[in-house]
Symmetry: C2
Amino acid sequence: MRNDVRELRLAAGLSQRELAEALDVSRQTVNSIETGRYDPSLPLAIAIARHFHRSVEEMFHAD
Amino acid sequence: MRNDVRELRLAAGLSQRELAEALDVSRQTVNSIETGRYDPSLPLAIAIARHFHRSVEEMFHAD
DNA sequence: TTTCCATGACAAGGCAGCTTGACAGTTGAG
DNA sequence: CTCAACTGTCAAGCTGCCTTGTCATGGAAA
């Protein structure tokens, strides 16, 4: 899965740490998702999409 | 997370086995998701939503 | 230079997601 | 009744997601 997290985070002027705090996860988790180490869990994916006012399908797409 | 998988599966006239085959997962995985034992992974959630022509957010909602 | 923030990455550990195989209970067809 | 399909659940095992802690690198500010 590819995702648009980094683009949207930067567009929002947030650091990985700030986004992590807003999502209540660790900085490493945000970094791992952005760098494609792994996909977020379903609830986290929904929280991320919600945070950026996007749908899950818009933010996460099959590679 | 609650989900509408069972309702939609039954409305489509499918058995757990048939849905599992359509999604390329095991019958136990479909059963576990329907009975709330655990949430699907993000890619599987997207595949399920897509199968039933719904959005992820429509099918999977915070409890 | 020194300090601070941001990022990338690794390790170890815990729990979640998924697998195959198996068993039991229920229901419906014959 | 017999048989098959459907469902629920368990066990064991593997891998993925997320944690805390740590380290290295780079850039900006003072």
